[in-house]
Symmetry: C2
Subunit: 335 residues, 2 copies
């Protein structure tokens, strides 16, 4: 009887220990492996007082690309879907655009038109659909659209398509005093409209491709900031490192990306002294998400490239590649 | 004897009470008056749960002009002194400038040249002296300069010339959950070099006139961001409201300025709903600091104007004017 009690107690302690260990795992959706270990080691090394690589709290900055790094970017960036969905409204307000390309094609084909449009055409559509309104009105419109729009594959709001393992990284870093920033090629104001709710990242921590505003007075005499089709920051490639310096003024200690547009951000991060973490998400899971990039031999995306060269660079530069297929137990929170 | 004890106890309690009240006064360098009351009332109204004007913690943003609002701006902005002091070094590196205006005049007259230079000339000098070097090197140079440079009147480092009452406002707002930002017409990178130490404001909370950077690789193959003479944000007048939207993405609840360059920031702040605080520092104390602006009938500064119109606007718009002479018990911490 006593032996039985001891055994029962032992099992209980073991079970409690395992539960406690699980409860303490900050990255439960990650499989054990090099990627998870790199993140945990980085956090421990940089936040343990007395560690030679200790980073003071105020300098703890981590930057995240959004499309393809924090949420799904295929078949096209959701911001482009938003822009395409807005074209009819813009043409209604400016009927002269109905016969002008690329608006004519979009009016005829809707979202399907993306296959026929050049990068320049996409920029034209973005500029026309993302400017001309007060900033508050724009953000309200984006929120309304996000509440009703559904993606084609999962039939869910786009904001459901964030990667659970990356949400865990965001929270884990913040719990350890890191300020998390999004540094996106997407529109700064577009992402600001939902990032606080979706990622826990406030507007002042969103760096993105930015157009200007113009200050004027409304009919009630109150000031209005109207979005203008004037590019201030192209937050891609070298623009990501430049944008980080402009908006944050500190070099990140950790950076996460997935395409050649993130290369300079990762280089800039690793270029600092001490312990720095640079990670690259590899989309190699066609079943649960998408497979594209070097391993798949698929053609590059129109709006981002995922070349063999980039992944070769990762090996040389000490960036850690995250395999969606083998590193992530779960991909989405709704699974 | 018992009565005496009671009296002694009463005095003791009274004294303790007064000390406690003093210790609790968040603005000890302010005289009681409309300005101090406006600040305290604003903080109480916006941070007391259940108050109809309660502001959630994440939305608490307060913006401060720097020159003339947080520190002395006369006889000229200290950043211009820095630029003038750097001209010989720039001319040494680029000898062709020695015979070109405005560099020729500055080489001959030093800081005195300011009296003879147009605004365009000042911009030329600023662009030449504030660009061409890696960002880290620039900030290090500014820190070195600040450590040795002394102002002409008090013979002290420029960073000693911050206004103690405004330092108290910064701390008081932060203690109540406000994020404090500097929104300056001065150079963003210049102010970032010392703002954390001088004001407790980190680089990511400095919005200022900004030039771009260019990303390249050094001899060691590591990325370098070099400051380029290319204006990205002119953070004056309407540019202050536009810069706040670009860099912060939230409308401030409180804003502090002192010149026409701050007018749009104050308007934009007051234009939001709920309780908003807009304040204007009036330099009316020639003995302890300087007296300029409407009350003094002095000519406007070359690089900022303090018109009667601005102060008339204050009355109409509900901005609160801070009189240095009557509202501030002490001006500097070293007094």
């Amino acid at each position: 009887m006593r032996a039985f009690r001891k055994l029962a107690l032992g099992i209980l302690l073991l079970a409690t220990g395992t539960l406690a260990a699980r409860a303490q795992d900050p990255l439960p959706s990650w499989n054990d492996g090099a990627a998870k270990k790199a993140i945990v080691d980085f956090v421990k090394t940089t936040t343990t007082e007395g560690s030679p690589q200790f980073v003071p709290a105020e300098e703890r900055v981590a930057t995240f690309d959004q499309d393809g790094t924090l949420w799904v970017e295929k078949p096209i960036y959701s911001q482009f879907v938003y822009c395409f969905d807005r074209v009819p409204e813009v043409v209604k307000a400016r009927p002269e655009l109905a016969d002008v390309e690329p608006f004519k094609t979009v009016m005829a084909q809707g979202r399907e038109a993306i296959a026929h449009l050049s990068h320049e055409d996409l920029v034209k559509i973005a500029m026309a659909t993302l400017s001309g309104m007060p900033v508050e009105e724009f953000r309200e419109e984006v929120r309304k659209w996000l509440a009703s729009a559904r993606d084609g594959r999962w039939k869910r709001p786009y904001t459901d398509l964030t990667y659970l393992p990356m949400q865990e990284v965001l929270k884990y870093l913040r719990a350890n005093g890191y300020k998390t920033y999004i540094v996106t090629g997407g529109g700064q104001d577009f992402v600001r409209a939902y990032a606080e709710k979706t990622y826990g990242i406030p507007p002042e921590q969103i760096v993105g491709t930015a157009i200007g505003t113009e200050y004027s007075y409304g009919k009630d005499g109150k000031p209005v900031l109207t979005k203008e089709p004037k590019l201030i920051l192209d937050d891609n490639y070298a623009g990501k490192a430049e944008g980080i310096d402009l908006m944050i003024g500190r070099r990140p200690y950790a950076a996460f990306g997935n395409s050649t547009g993130d290369q300079q951000m990762l280089e800039y991060t690793k270029g600092g002294g001490g312990s720095r973490l640079a990670m690259l998400v590899l989309h190699d899971d066609a079943n649960r998400e998408y497979a594209y990039g070097p391993a798949q031999g698929l053609p590059d995306s129109k709006v981002g490239t995922f070349t063999q060269q980039l992944y070769d660079e990762a090996g040389k530069a000490g960036w850690v590649v995250i395999s969606m297929k083998s590193d992530w137990k779960k991909i989405f929170g709704f699974e």
